[in-house]
Amino acid sequence: MSGQSVFPRLEPLLPRVRKPVQYVGGEGNSTVKPWESAAVRWCLMYPDAYEVGLPNQGLQILYEVLNEQPDVLAERAYAVLPDLEALLREHGVPQFTVDAHRPVGDFDVLGVSFATELGYTNLLTALDLAGIPLRAADRADEHPLVIAGGHAAFNPEPVTDFIDAAVLGDGEQAVLDITDVIRAFRAAGSPGGRAELLARLARRRLVYVPAFFDVTYGEDGAIVAVTANRDDVPARPVKHTLSDLDSWPYPKTPLVPLAETVHERMSVEIFRGCTRGCRFCQAGMITRPVRERSIDTIGAMVDAGLSASGFSEVGLLSLSSADHSEIGEIATQLADRYEGTNTSLSLPSTRVDAFNVTLANEFSRNGRRSGLTFAPEGGSERLRKVINKMVSEEDLIRTVSTAYAQGWRQVKLYFMCGLPTETDEDVLGIAKLAREVIRAGRKASGHRDIRCTVSIGGFVPKSHTPFQWAGQASWEVTDHRLKLLRDTVRADREIARAVGFRYHDGRPGIIEGLLARGDRRVGRVIERVWREGGRFDGWSEHFSFERWERAAAAELEPLGVSLDWFTTRERPEREVLPWDHLDAGLDRDWLWSDWQDALRASELDDCRWTPCYDCGVCPTMGSQIEIGPTRRTLLPLTPVPSLPARAATGATTSASATAATATAATGQEKARAAAAP
């Protein structure tokens, strides 16, 4: 296949679409390699709009890891918005990558990263535009292998019709190993074609190949068994766990987009995994155990990333950044290092304690103290025990008082609605907390005009969590509770004007729930929705609940199941869950007992600070907790020479004359870099 750029055909279409700049590529630190130079070619796709997908760290990491290999080429693709989709169809232009605008169908592998299930319909658009058969079963040897990754891939069952394989867990080493297998398979003359290549990948425990497993269903609609249909592949595909993150300091050179994106900053992941044990949190369960980067690696990554990108803000990412064993030292030393350089540091942490406020103060030494966010998640003490979020009301009030007293003007509080065992009372507890927060804030700050924003997300039960058995709250219940809460806050004259209230209706959460805990039968619902025009389901302006509801009724009811069956129904202990054959390391019995503990509102500590409670991950995966403190300090930065001073006046004209001659040179140099095929 050719890998020929489609840009000449795309360019005339661009003046006719919204934000054409998102399709032109040209990001700083992006890589374009000659097509012929590569033995294995990856297209990495984030199935959402460019502005959302470009900042995605997972994709940037794999892009760099793969392109560092001399004989591997990786390019990126994002979902095209409906206006361009229509033009591409009209003019017969295929789905393209943004790097060299190559047809996605020409690559060896199409790796798709699903951060959320709401990207599934966009996968179908991309496949269709790329000329890749929608169903894996219809693909031939010349089509790319379609491999899903990302958190949603821990239950890929709803998209098994459309993908050839799924990678569970950390992708860094996995993509290199997959590449090795493909390279060797090619070198041997591709014996046995596509099916044999997939079998080799499965045998090496690199991927889960859905086609190698059969699912049988019982009279009641539930799964009877999921069994491997060949005896040469492992019965339980496992997740990948990276260890020693210091030796994988990616992204080293962050992508710098030309277009505006949702995160205008660079990010450094300071650790991976989280064992706080919040029972609703899939990310915390599937990324265990905690593996930290050391303070000096973090310092080096911040420095290298800033000089390579020119960004002026750095986010220190993780699932709970204030939990890094040396976060205090990291905060102080980075703040010292970048003092006076107009570089801002941010720590997306929502931990409810005074230390978190101290960290925020350190990171905003010279900046405006606008907003601080805390996430109690549950409105009542009892509910917080159910979800294992160990925050008392006193903790919260003390923390926000500290924040307001130290000059923060606005506090944001995150909660969830629709949690297991939740009652109207629990949700109304949020109004009570908000009132206490405002009162405490007025007292601590000494003035009345302080604000508190309450943001509420709908809870969606996910696979591989203690809540995987829970019945999801119906959208009617969610909407009813949110309305009750809103009315209560509005009616409270003392706080009505000080409290902002953000929430979404419960319907999209139900569809997310269907896709998150669905099995293979849900695939036909996705396909029908897509055929009827479903796109960008994460966007309220594109999402249509009615379309999903109709498609679910049409496709599921003849099979004896339904939208409710997949979402609001509580599962019994012995029911085979669609993802039970996929090994995230978590012991099923431990998950079940944690679910029972939840129902009894009984809490569980973090295994970083208390003994291991045998969730199963470490022994199964051969991994262990990797945390500091290292007691090392940041290395001083090497001073960079600044630009030479201006010569005495009079040299002006000659300087601009040199400018004219030099222009042609740099222009050509940069053009060469841009045109590198």
Partner: protein, 261 residues
């Protein structure tokens, strides 16, 4: 409680100002003015240009843009002025900053700021518009028809609704020729007005005055070639040329020569 103030000393005051001419080429023509500004500020940081910052909680680099180029249009003549906290060599600055900007965002010249404000040295633009799929004679005839009018208003969408712009009054002169690739090339000098008359508006106007009306099957590609003060002969004076004496035309000639070559 008194409001917090930024700790530490205020940023150093500007000690020098430089003016830059830059091009926006190739696929970068799809950048908006905001996209350009964002890329430019990141380039300043990467090249470690000692830019001066405003004071306050969220200090901004002191970058003054002169006008702006429409999304979708390329340019060989955009201008920006920088305030510097150190008096660095303009040519060294240009080379370093150019290397830190994306290919297609190319710095063509950098000179110390002298004379009056830069905006006072710019009143019109010369545009070259590729019009694929339309015979040059048709565009030429439409242009003649436009120039024969006193006034010609077209409607155009703005942020705050719709506005009428008088294209005829803004167009100073123009010519149309055929390129080697069977594509009309329209060359027009347009005075800067409020609201601005853009190349799109000129094409809309040409479409309307032509008999029969002209349509453009493929979106035309405009490129701004020059900006400056209008000379008597309809050419534009280089806004970066030394303020005293005769205008320095060498730069413009060089560019024009290269572009037609």
């Amino acid at each position: 409680m008194p409001p917090r103030r930024p700790d530490g000393p205020p940023p150093p005051p500007p000690v020098a100002r430089v003016r830059l001419r830059f091009a926006k080429r190739g696929r970068l023509r799809f950048l908006s003015q905001l996209d350009l500004a964002r890329s430019f500020e990141r380039g300043l940081r990467r090249a470690r240009v000692p830019i001066a910052f405003s004071a306050g909680f969220s200090p901004h680099p002191k970058v003054s843009w002169v006008g702006g180029v429409p999304t979708g249009a390329a340019s060989e003549a955009e201008y920006v002025e920088l305030a510097l906290a150190e008096d660095v060599d303009p040519e060294a600055l240009r080379v370093a900053l150019d290397a830190a900007l994306p290919p297609g965002f190319d710095l063509l010249a950098c000179v110390p700021a002298e004379g009056g404000p830069l905006a006072g040295r710019i009143e019109a633009s010369r545009w070259s518009v590729r019009v694929p799929g339309v015979p040059a004679e048709d565009v030429s005839r439409a242009l003649d028809a436009l120039l024969a009018r006193e006034s010609l208003e077209v409607e155009r969408r703005t942020k705050s609704g719709r506005a009428l712009v008088d294209v005829r009054r803004a167009v100073i002169c123009g010519v149309c020729r055929a390129s080697a690739h069977d594509c009309a090339i329209l060359d027009v000098v347009v005075r800067h007005t409020t609201p601005a008359v853009r190349p799109d508006d000129v094409l809309t106007a040409l479409g309307v005055v032509a008999v029969p009306p002209l349509t453009f099957p493929v979106p035309p590609e405009p490129t701004r070639l020059e900006q400056g003060l209008i000379r008597v002969d309809g050419t534009l004076a280089d806004p970066l040329a030394a303020p005293s004496g005769a205008p320095n035309r060498s730069e413009t000639d060089r560019l024009a020569g290269r572009l037609t070559a």
